[in-house]
Symmetry: C2
C-alpha cells in the first residue's frame, strides 16, 4: 500500500499504534475514491466507519435547526474524521462531504470498536488521537474569538506555507465560499479581509495567494486585534 500506508500511519488515531497493527487495520479497511461534492455521511446517522484522508479535502459540518450549514472541520492528508465510530452505538456529530476529489481510508467502526475493547494500546492510541482533535478544536475556538477576520485569513495562509521565513506562493485549496465558512466569515467579508492584507504584502490572483514576507504576515497575525484595527483604519485613510 506504499505511500497510502505512510499517510495513514500519521493520522491521529493510528500514529501511536505499532506499524504491523496499522497494516492489519488497513487490510481490513476500504480505500475509497470519492468525487468532489460527494456526501460521506450525514449528521445524526449511526457512526459506521471512521476515515483517514489519503488525498484531497473533506469538510465536516453541522446543519443548524433552520437549515444553515456551519463548517466545523476541514481535513486533508492524514486528517482523521468520524472517530465517533470508535465507540459502539454512537452517531455522527457532524456531516462529512468531499470538497475536492479525494481518496479515503474507510475503517469499519465495529471492527475498530471491537479491537479497542480487547487492546489497551489501541485504546490509548485512540484516546491520544481524540485529545489531539480536542487541542485543534480549542485552538480554532481561540482563533475565532481572539482574531479579526483578516488575522484569521493570515493564520490560514500561514498554515499553508511550507517554510517559516521568506516569500511564498500558496494555492488556495478550496473555494472562497468554503474558506469564508471555515473562518466564520461571510463571503463578502472575506474579499474585504483579503484587501486588508495588501499592506502586509499579500496579493490574491485567482486561486493563488502570493505572500511577500512570511515573517511580516506572522507578525500581523499575532498582533493585538485592537491594534490591528487601528492600523487598518490608518492605512485605509492614507
Amino acid at each position: 500500500m506504499g505511500s497510502y500506508f505512510d499517510i495513514a500511519k500519521q493520522a491521529a488515531v493510528l500514529k501511536n499504534i505499532p506499524a504491523p497493527e496499522v497494516e492489519v487495520i488497513m487490510q481490513k479497511s476500504l480505500i475509497r475514491s470519492v468525487e468532489r461534492g460527494a456526501s460521506i455521511y450525514i449528521q445524526g446517522e449511526g457512526a459506521h466507519s471512521l476515515f483517514v484522508v489519503l488525498k484531497g479535502w473533506v469538510k465536516t459540518y453541522r446543519v443548524t435547526p433552520c437549515g444553515n450549514e456551519a463548517v466545523v472541520g476541514i481535513f486533508t492528508e492524514n486528517g482523521c474524521f468520524g472517530e465517533e465510530a470508535a465507540l459502539r452505538d454512537h452517531s455522527y456529530v457532524t456531516g462529512a462531504e468531499a470538497v475536492s476529489d479525494a481518496m479515503l481510508l474507510q475503517i469499519d467502526g465495529l471492527y475498530f470498536a471491537q479491537a479497542i475493547e480487547s487492546d489497551l494500546a489501541l485504546c490509548q492510541a485512540a484516546l491520544s488521537g481524540s485529545m489531539d482533535q480536542n487541542r485543534a478544536l480549542v485552538q480554532h475556538v481561540e482563533q475565532l474569538k481572539s482574531h479579526t477576520g483578516a488575522q484569521r485569513i493570515a493564520d490560514f495562509l500561514l498554515s499553508l506555507c511550507k517554510s517559516q521565513t521568506g516569500s511564498c506562493t500558496v494555492i488556495l485549496p478550496y473555494d472562497k465560499v468554503l474558506i469564508a465558512a471555515w473562518l466564520g466569515m461571510k463571503p463578502e467579508s472575506l474579499s474585504r479581509a483579503f484587501r486588508r492584507l495588501k499592506p502586509y504584502g499579500v496579493s490574491i490572483q485567482k486561486d493563488h495567494a502570493i505572500i511577500e514576507s512570511i515573517e511580516r504576515l506572522s507578525e500581523y497575525a499575532d498582533e493585538d486585534p485592537a491594534e490591528s484595527w487601528s492600523t487598518q483604519q490608518r492605512s485605509e485613510t492614507l
Copy 2:
C-alpha cells in the same frame, strides 16, 4: 463523600466507570476549595492533575501571542477539565481559573495515567469522556459560526433554564464581561444584544434574566440569522 461523590460520578471521565472504582479514585484525590480569581493551572505547564468541578464555576482560556485572553471553556458541577493529565508527558493546552469560589476534585495525573495503562475499562471511559468534550467543542464552534450575538445569548440563557416551556428567571452565573468573552463578543456588543432580546420577552435586572416564554426564545435562537437580522431591524425601526 456523599453528594460530592454523586456529582463526580457524573463527570465525563468518570461516568462510565463502576462506582467502586470511582470511590477508589476519589479516595486517592484531593478535594480543594479555591477562591474566585484563583489560578488553577497555566497554559503550557506540565499537566499534573485533572479536575472535576464539585461546586462553583471555572473558566479555561488561551493566552494569545499578544497577551489577550480567549475563553475556550466554562465549567460548573460535574464539568471536567485538564484531561491532558490522563496521558503522560502532556502539557496543559489552556490555563484554568476559578471564576467564583469553587470546590474541585483534583485527581493526580500520574496515578490516573498509570491506572489507564493497566485498566482497559478506565481507558475506554476516558476515551468516551474525551469524545464528549469534542462534541461540546464542535457544538460551540457551530454556535460561534452560525448564530448572531443575540442568538448566542439566547442559547446561553436557555442552557440555564431548568425546564423547556413556560416562563423562567435565571441567575447569570458569572459577570457580563466573562459571558461576552465566552460568547465571542465585545462587552459593549453584549449590552446591545441583550436589548435586542427585549422584543422576544427577555429582560435583564442586575444579575437576573427574566424570560417570559422559553418557547418563544428557543424559536428565536433557532431562526435563520439572516431572518433574525431583518426582524431586528424591523423591530428597531418600529
